[in-house]
Symmetry: C2
Subunit: 199 residues, 2 copies
């Protein structure tokens, strides 16, 4: 692996575990086992590092989700697959959602710049459209705004990892048991959602 890649990977770990402000360039260099000066040689500033990390993340997740939501399958399959793909992603990147949300909140304008840099947008409009069509077909109850459903779906997917320490504590779950719970939620959340919206 190249030095640049090693730095990027080390930075990702440092950022997601500590947040942007608490992340230390010194720690990143230590993790990557390179000299502190090299970080600036490759990436100039702390901000450049974080922008790069966000880009890679957005491209990876949104590409997969877009494929699911624009497929020709029926809405209930889209929900099941979408939930599974999303939860698969967060199982591999458990600390990333909190990092993104923290950064978004800390500096919304900067976050928009980072989104633009990645060239990707979340494919939620595609899902909302699919919900609306299924309402017309009578598959889903009509007293529910598609946008509301999308927000609820994302809430159920993301919150448990955002609040992971609280969930682990209140449910008394080991690291392994927490992962099992996330795995189970692929089916559980999909079924919960489908129960909530079926006509």
């Amino acid at each position: 692996m190249t030095t640049k890649k090693r730095i990027l990977q080390a930075a990702k770990q440092e950022f997601i575990f500590n947040g942007f402000e608490a992340a230390r360039m010194r720690s990143i260099a230590d993790r990557a086992e390179v000299n502190k000066g090299l970080l600036h040689y490759y990436f100039k500033t702390k901000e450049t590092l974080v922008t790069q990390i966000f880009s890679e993340t957005f491209v990876e997740l949104f590409t997969d989700l877009k494929r699911v939501f624009t497929s020709s399958k029926d809405i209930f399959q889209k929900i099941e697959e979408g939930v599974a793909v999303y939860i698969d992603f967060i199982m591999k990147n458990q600390e990333m959602p909190l990092f993104i949300i923290s950064e978004m909140s800390r500096d919304p304008k900067q976050h928009l710049k980072r989104m633009k840099h990645s060239g990707m947008t979340p494919p939620f409009k595609e899902l909302a459209k699919s919900i609306a069509q299924s309402q017309q077909l009578g598959l889903i109850r009509k007293d529910l705004a598609p946008k509301q459903f999308v927000l609820n779906m994302i809430s159920l997917i993301l919150f448990p990892v955002l609040a992971k320490p609280m969930v682990q504590f209140t449910h008394d779950l080991s690291e392994k048991e927490f992962k099992v719970m996330l795995e189970d939620r692929k089916k559980d959340v999909a079924q919960f959602l489908i129960h909530a919206i079926k006509a």
Copy 2:
């Protein structure tokens, strides 16, 4: 208002908008319009300030929720009232949930100390118990773990404020419209939950 109270209020604002690490003692002093030295005179350290703020928050929220979940009303009323009470709280303290969750994640052990200092615990076990009883009565479908329901309920309540900038951006909502949406979610979330669990 006493100087101590003014400092506490200023610290709360600074912390919830910037997070613990990014919060500056200097900024807190400026917000409170007092000298920087006074912060240490009253609270000794940054950590003392944050512990005090958490305590007040936990006491306020959990007291109200416990009253709802241990009342004698039926489960569907408990859900409706619990959602309303919780959303009322976060409407008045929109940035608090992200601050708490960020801190919890940044330093779980320290967070437990802060919880203990407040003397309060979240009354979620009481709600789960109430769900289990209603399952026995045949009011709620039995293929759903009470703990899972509680987690889903909290997810739907908290996520929209945690991801507020993203929600505002993707739904194109002004500050006022976002508040209206939260207000609407008191009914919407309760109905969504009830649809999802009714036998």
